[in-house]
């Protein structure tokens, strides 16, 4: 050892400068900190992880249903198991995935960022909502897997009150409880949108995603309690013999259907309105152009929410509803299509002559518009009482609502996740894999559900697994499509998780998009904004504007 080494060793070495990020992900890294967090961004992530889990479970049930339908004689599962499988699929997908899908993940994460707030109005209530959701959903899933429920997700009486031999009471209890979670989130969003907007963030400067979530939250707040009471009445009738719907005593089972659909039709708009909000963001960002008809899109969200409350009777055209009621509900169902169409035309006009970039989110958006139009137009067919007589309770209906619930909601969810992923995680995912998945989704989805339109039109009823052999080729095609669709779901799960560690770092605004959420670093700091911003710009002020006619 030479003297100079000693000198070096004794030199005072300055401590290495570690660049500690102070974003919301790194603010406190312990696992416990996630379970007691009141940060809306972290709660959004908690929801994202949990609903992804439920989506996988619901998809497995769907896969087993499609497996059973490959053969016409229903040999693979017994009738009982088949009934339990499609009930499991329906209940999980509706209440534990679709309803919370976009609002509780992206909405939770983005709402305060988009309106320039530090958090939601009631952060602790937000966390409580997640705990109620987790408790109720895990309980219900356990009940449905362990005991089994065979009523379908609609729980129609008197099947559910008198004849079903499954664990109906426990499942109904779980559904009532998960409703409280919906109500709390909806309440939080309504109040936040009203009261926590930054200075200068007027109603007509709100991003359209916020408008979509606001309309959704109004529905959640006003419709969910009616489901709660319908389920309570069902519960006490089955459990304690407090007859309300019991036909033996002159009760009216159709009354249950009215109460049920008063919630369950508006809840379809809960699934699709946030998706429409995502679309408005994607279409402008990737056409790099100011949105066409901002106010029309904003008000059409409220229009859908309002009119959507007066269409529920179209589920009962052939269940003992009077023809006059049928006529009214048919008319209202046609009217509710108008604001949806307004949105689609406005998006088309926004894309027109834009600087279109076909990145992954935009591919999802384009696929979305196509699928939504098909789902919407077939909805109009079902809304006409005469045609509904032919296809009522057939696979035509199944295909229609999957075009809306999967084609619109799930595609928008994936498109939104891909769009805001760099903001949420600070990382970019693999663009080629993203594009492949978006295309695969479109192909797989159509392969699965287009044949079901044909099957339904030819007369295949829903909820039966024994069918005439003539229907087998189309059923096999549909099941094969489900395999493609499964790949389109698995790919993003793999490359998105991979990107968490190995993805390129994304800057604050990788898409050069407009909006307050893109002005903060990615991932955003714990309290979103160092100082609350003052908004003095119009929404979507992209350089390209509507071309003069």
């Amino acid at each position: 050892m030479t003297p100079s080494d000693y000198v070096l060793r004794d030199l005072e070495v300055p401590p290495p400068v570690i660049d500690v990020p102070d974003d919301y992900l790194h603010a406190d890294q312990s696992l416990w900190s996630w379970f007691v967090t009141t940060d809306h961004k972290r709660i959004g992530i908690l929801y994202l992880v949990s609903i992804t889990g439920f989506f996988i479970l619901g998809s497995i049930a769907a896969g087993l249903v499609r497996l059973s339908l490959v053969v016409p004689d229903g040999e693979i599962f017994t009738n009982d198991v088949y009934n339990r499988l499609f009930t499991l699929h329906g209940v999980i997908m509706v209440w534990f995935f679709l309803v919370p899908s976009i609002p509780n993940t992206l909405g939770n994460f983005l709402l305060p960022l988009m309106i320039g707030a530090k958090d939601l109005a009631f952060p602790r209530l937000n966390l409580l909502s997640w705990y109620i959701f987790m408790g109720a959903s895990l309980f219900t899933v356990f009940v449905m897997v362990w005991g089994g429920v065979d009523t379908g997700w609609t729980f129609y009486t008197p099947l559910s009150t008198q004849y079903s031999n499954g664990w109906v009471l426990a499942a109904v209890f779980g559904v009532i409880m998960v409703g409280f979670s919906s109500i709390l989130t909806g309440l939080n969003f309504v109040v936040t949108t009203h009261k926590l907007r930054a200075p200068g963030m007027t109603w007509f400067r709100l991003p359209l995603f916020v408008w979509g979530n606001y309309a959704t939250s109004l529905i959640l707040v006003l419709a969910t309690p009616v489901l709660t009471i319908a389920m309570i009445l069902l519960f006490v009738e089955r459990a304690f013999g407090l007859a309300i719907f019991d036909p033996d005593h002159g009760g009216d089972p159709v009354l249950f259907q009215h109460l049920f659909w008063f919630y369950s039709h508006p809840v379809v708009y809960v699934m699709v309105l946030p998706g429409m909000g995502v679309m408005s963001e994607l279409v402008t960002a990737f056409a790099y152009k100011k949105i066409f008809g901002y106010k029309f899109i904003a008000f059409s969200s409220l229009g859908i929410a309002a009119i959507g409350f007066f269409v529920w009777g179209h589920h009962m055209f052939y269940n003992g509803e009077s023809p006059y009621a049928g006529l009214t509900f048919s008319l209202m169902s046609f009217i509710v299509a108008v604001p949806s169409a307004i949105k689609v035309y406005n998006w088309a006009a926004t894309i027109y002559k834009g600087e279109i970039r076909l990145d992954t989110p935009m591919l999802y958006a384009m696929g979305w518009i196509g699928l939504f139009v098909i789902g919407g137009v077939t909805g109009l067919m079902l809304a006409s009482t005469a045609l509904d007589g032919h296809v009522h309770d057939t696979y035509f209906v199944v295909a229609h609502f999957h075009y809306i619930m999967v084609g619109a909601t799930v595609v928008a969810f994936l498109g939104g996740i891909h769009f805001w992923w760099p903001k949420i995680t600070g990382r970019m995912y693999s663009e080629p894999w993203g594009r492949v998945s978006a295309l695969l989704m479109f192909i797989g989805f159509n392969m699965t559900f287009l044949p079901q339109y044909v099957l339904g039109y030819l007369g295949m009823p829903r909820r039966y697994h024994v069918y005439p052999p003539a229907f087998q080729p189309l059923n096999v095609l549909s099941s094969a499509g489900a395999v493609v669709l499964a790949a389109a779901y698995i790919f993003p799960m793999v490359y998105l998780i991979y990107s968490l560690w190995y993805g390129e770092r994304a800057g604050p605004n990788p898409w050069e998009a407009k909006g307050l959420e893109w002005t903060v670093p990615s991932p955003p700091p714990k309290h979103n904004f160092e100082t609350i911003p003052t908004v003095d710009f119009e929404p979507y002020d992209y350089p390209n504007v509507i071309p003069e006619a």
Binding site: K118, L196, P225, V226, L233, G251, L259, F262
Partner: protein
């Protein structure tokens, strides 16, 4: 009696006291809207059953204890008055009056529950409990009357659950609010709890005519 300054402690997500007050109030009103919709589902069911079986419903309505229901209505109106006194004195910083008014409100809530319990007992004695399968039902020759009797128990039962929650809230709040410095930090919580209490009373104002008065 000391008049203290009243106010609220600012939570981190708010910019001003006024914003926090308005937010809390709107939150409670939104929640109360869900409560109204919850009860509406039962009111509409009551009207449907009434339309389907008008005679059976009248037969049941004649068995309901009108005077107990009417007394209970008066009790709740009085309790709402006490709650208003509590809210007004909380704004003025009159802590002791406020706490006593809240305790009186809770006591009137308990009185309502006692009368309600006695009414249920009378129903039991009169064989108006069709869901108890071991006990003969008074209107056994009129099966459709069961529907309205059952609904009567469900509606009043659910209202009683809400009122019990209200009494619990009132007791906890008056305990918390009796501490020194409460009104300087959390004055608006009294108003929020008050909104809930008034609304549960209001629900009863719809329950009473829907069940007891129509077709009587």
């Amino acid at each position: 009696m000391s008049t203290t300054t009243v106010g609220i402690k600012l939570e981190e997500q708010f910019e001003s006291e006024q914003q926090q007050r308005e937010t809390a109030k709107l939150g409670m009103w939104t929640f109360l809207a869900t409560e109204l919709l919850l009860f509406s589902g039962m009111f509409i069911s009551a009207l449907v059953i009434r339309t389907l079986h008008p005679d059976s419903v009248t037969a049941v309505a004649l068995h309901l204890k009108f005077w107990i229901g009417a007394t209970n209505t008066a009790v709740l109106i009085l309790s709402s008055f006490c709650m208003s006194v509590a809210i007004e004195s909380s704004r003025l910083g009159l802590q002791r009056i406020m706490v006593r008014a809240m305790l009186l409100t809770a006591a009137l809530g308990v009185l309502f529950m006692c009368l309600k319990g006695y009414e249920y007992y009378r129903d039991y004695v009169e064989h108006m409990t069709p869901f108890l399968h071991w006990r003969r039902y008074e209107l056994v020759g009129d099966p459709a009357s069961r529907l309205f009797t059952d609904l009567y128990f469900i509606i009043t039962g659910l209202h009683a659950i809400h009122l019990t929650i209200g009494i619990g809230l009132m007791l906890v709040m008056s305990w918390l609010a009796s501490r020194a410095g409460f009104l300087q930090k959390h004055q608006n919580r009294i108003e929020i709890v008050g909104l809930y209490w008034h609304f549960i009373d209001l629900i009863w104002m719809i329950v009473f005519p829907t069940l007891y008065l129509l077709n009587r």
